[in-house]
């Protein structure tokens, strides 16, 4: 059957499971049985030419990570294909025929694994699969009717599955599942093993609602597949990776890692802010201001600020802190810890090593940043004030291929167009805000702004005028203060 765009659809008849909830006569607690239902799904079938293979990946077969397992080597040891179709990535899964298999073991690791209750090793279901009528017959009589009987969860589950099935395509008889862009990532715990993993969601991670990707733990090392070599030094082992189309592997891992680590460093500094001596406090202020200006980007100002944090010296006069704290601390057993006393907090902080951890962390972040693949970053001068906010919109410079691609994909335009504009010596400007449609423009060296993509009714001057002026002036209000110190340059 033909569906949109001349694509054909494969019809699949599948059985799925859901819960039947009921309360027997004179009972108080709910009981559940597993019910079964059938539905027909339309799954898109795509020509191989429309969905080219852009990369091949293969995590080790013994990968334990739930997400990593989606990218592991196939059973025969060959690499798994990633196809690119309609702006999205799809990872190779099982043959289409397996989806309709009655054997629960076959579908356990497929998209439809979640449609059925989990099967045991021998492929049997742990409970009997019943219909609604069976449940009623077994648990009630005419004299003892059920107190409650809910058998409508099957429809909701069916809807859910139908939604899932839209994330599925079939190419050459093999199913491919939707995936965010696969990247290389080094987890934090245990052996520093690099795995192919989905990229973090571009929106949710920074200033969104709580989502799945927030479950990731801090200081990750991540890179696009084509830049996997840049983080090879951190990993004990690397997955097998083959990139066929480099323009489809653009994730800006260095910026993501640096910005995230900066955020956590700042929150650490914030929580011990009373204990910092002036040099450290000033470094914190500079980091904070640079971070506010940078948004999700890594600007030279942010790097300067990080460098400053990494070179903060120890408290110049720890003896005085100790002496003041001693003098303030009342004697007597009943006067214990008084956290409101700043010098006690200071003395405690010094006792635990002071700013040493902060320095080391900042140095680590700089190390990570220094390993960025230089070719993925635009060669532009970034002034101290490189973003302008008003009315909930922030206009800023785009600094890397990855950021440009993310923005282009979000706006539904071809990333190549943006990258070409950047390659021709233009600066790329991005205007975005929460719940607002983003806009992209190019600023050529003469100072003319060319719109690339604007929201409906958008005005180039309104969106980018202030930023362009600031960039042309090449200095902001705060620049003098930073430069007057001048002594720190990485």
């Amino acid at each position: 059957m033909a569906v949109q765009g001349g694509l054909s659809a494969v019809k699949l008849d599948i059985e799925y499971h859901y819960q039947i909830v009921f309360i027997p006569y004179r009972h108080q607690n709910e009981r559940r049985e597993t019910g079964a239902a059938h539905m027909t799904l339309d799954i898109r079938e795509v020509n191989p030419e429309d969905a080219p293979v852009v990369m091949k990946v293969g995590n080790p077969r013994d990968t334990k990570d739930e997400h990593g397992r989606r990218y592991m080597l196939k059973e025969d040891g060959s690499l798994r294909e990633i196809r690119f179709f309609d702006g999205n990535y799809f990872v190779e899964s099982v043959p289409a025929s397996t989806l309709v298999s009655d054997n629960p073991k076959d579908i356990a690791n497929t998209f439809f694994g979640r449609a059925k209750v989990r099967a045991s090793e021998d492929g049997l279901y742990p409970t009997r699969i019943m219909t609604g009528a069976e449940v009623v017959r077994k648990n009630s009589t005419a004299a003892t009717p059920l107190r409650k009987f809910v058998d409508d969860k099957g429809e909701a589950k069916g809807e859910e599955l139908r939604k899932f099935s839209r994330n599925l395509i079939i190419v050459d008889g093999t199913t491919f599942e939707f995936t965010p862009e696969p990247i290389v990532k080094i987890g934090r715990y245990g052996e520093p093993e690099a795995l192919v993993m989905p990229r973090p969601h571009p929106k949710e991670k920074h200033g969104g609602s709580y989502g799945f990707y927030d479950l990731e733990y801090g200081d990750n090392k991540r890179a696009a597949l084509k830049h996997a070599d840049s983080i090879r030094g951190f990993a004990a082992s690397m997955p097998a990776v083959e990139v066929l189309d480099p323009s489809r592997s653009t994730f800006d891992g260095a910026s993501y890692d640096t910005v995230e680590a900066c955020e956590s460093l700042m929150s650490t500094l914030r929580s011990s802010i009373k204990s910092l001596h002036w040099e450290a406090l000033e470094a914190f202020y500079m980091l904070r201001d640079a971070f506010r200006d940078s948004g999700k980007r890594v600007t030279p100002r942010l790097v300067d600020a990080l460098y400053r944090v990494s070179t903060v010296s120890d408290e110049a006069d720890p003896a005085t802190v100790e002496a003041v704290c001693d003098r303030l601390t009342p004697t007597g057993h009943w006067t214990g810890h008084r956290p409101d006393r700043i010098y006690q907090a200071k003395a405690e902080y010094l006792k635990h090593g002071g700013v040493r951890w902060v320095r080391e962390t900042a140095a680590e972040i700089l190390d990570r940043w220094s390993l960025r693949p230089a070719e993925a970053y635009f060669d532009v001068d970034v002034p101290n004030v490189s973003s302008v906010s008003s009315n909930g919109r922030t206009a800023s410079l785009v600094l890397s291929e990855g950021q440009a691609t993310d923005a282009a994909i979000e706006m539904g335009i071809d990333p190549g167009e943006v990258l070409d504009a950047a390659a021709n010596g233009n600066r790329i400007l991005l205007s975005e805000g929460r719940h607002l449609e983003p806009a992209l423009a190019a600023l050529d060296p003469d100072g003319t702004i060319w719109p690339i993509s604007l929201p409906e009714g958008g005005d180039v001057d309104k969106l980018f005028g202030a930023l362009a002026t600031a960039l042309q002036d090449d200095c902001g209000e705060e620049q003098d203060m930073i430069l007057s110190d001048g002594e720190f340059m990485p």
């Binding site: 914030r270 802010i273 009373k274 002036w278 406090l281 000033e282 914190f284 202020y285 500079m286 904070r288 201001d289 003896a319 005085t320 002496a323 003041v324 001693d326 003098r327 303030l328 409101d340 700043i342 010098y343 203060m481 007057s484």
Partner: protein
Amino acid sequence: MKLEIPSTYVSEFVRPKKRSVEKAVMQSKFEVDIREIDPADAPVAHVLGEAWPDESEAYQPGYLPFGMVDGKPVEVRVVDGSYWVRRLPVEELGEAVYSVDLSNPFNGWYKIGDEHVSAGWRQSSPDLPTTREEVEASEDTEMRKWESKRHVTAAELARRAESLVVIDGWLYEKVAEPAVTLVMDSEQVQVRLTEAVNGGERFSKGKSEYDPSRCLRFGVDETDRAIAMGEDIARRSGAAFVNRVVVESHSPWQVRFRGEQEYLTAIAWKTMRDMTEEISEMDIPFGKAWHDLMTALYEHDAVTMPAVDALRRMAALAEAGSLEKVKAARFNGYLNPGGDSRNAVLDFRMKEVKLALEAWDTRDPQGIEWLEQGLGDVAMYKGKARAFEVTSLMEADALSAAFGRDLADMATAASAGRGYMVAVEDGRVIRTVCFVGEGEDGQSVMESVTSHGAEPPREHLDLALGFVVRAMSRKQAPEADLELAQFGI
């Protein structure tokens, strides 16, 4: 002059077959001796008084250290460097000792050991027993143990009598130096009289306790200025102005109190504490000012020149709108309930800072205080030792009293700008006082005095000298001015 004082005292007893100690309050008469002094030896320093037209219970005249007598100001005399205020005619004393409030000079709270007990006549005194036999008769048993604490109360009353003298047929009571005080609250600004040092133990349970951050105090010679300032504050804040004080005359030589630094210190601490919550949101100049203020206050307890400088910067930056961002960050609706009321606190603090600086700038120290002419630096620490500058006559007097030596020469020279008076504290007790400066012949000298009269320890002298050297070098390179210039203020 011998006098019989009726008072209560405590006896401890244990009943037969019991273990716990019980107490009985007894009454008795104690004989005390009150000094009589020739009026020629006790010159009148001030004539002043505080009056409450309505004799409300909260403000009984007896609670006032400088209350008027019969609606007229009273003499404050100086004997041996301490102040004595006229209370009542000696003939009335026989009656007054039976009074149950603080108009009875023997009434009050005393600390005996770790306990606070009251002495003097009480409402219930006539019914109290006088002997052990009476107690045993009323309890109908013979006590196993009996210990009278009469001697303790007797000693306390004798000590109390030492703070009373009879001059010219009037009873005088020892007080600290009077200070003209503006008590500021939202409804009224009152002019009152308080003791400069809040040590009058007899009044400490009374109403003479005050909150230094709500009271701007002045020396007695500054009454006109205090009243003018009080009227100004009342006019600006829309409060009523009430003057309860009459200063008929004062002797400028007997004034050693200046209150501006005290007020500025109280306000500086409060401001610093309230700002602490906000430091992560401040801009860099304001953060620097906060940090300087915090460091200076903690290292010295009271304001010094670095703290005053930081406060000035804060006031200037707040004026320039530096706090607006902080306040905006705090006031963001449901995420931050109470944000606006805390913003109001910030505004209020900055107003107070302005007032305190205004008082500080218009003060007239007259050699009573010399913080600005002196080193003006925060204390310097070395191990448990701490060196700091003595910058007022009152501090010098307290040191004289503690050391049992006359340090007036040092204080005079320091106030005249001929040198610096530095005290060294070790283990929270002041051990050594040094004077560093030029002597009468123009040569530089270093004199030192210790509390026990022995040679001062070498390390104390080194610390004092190190303190002076550090403060001088800081004075010559005033960092703070440069910073202010950098921020265009």
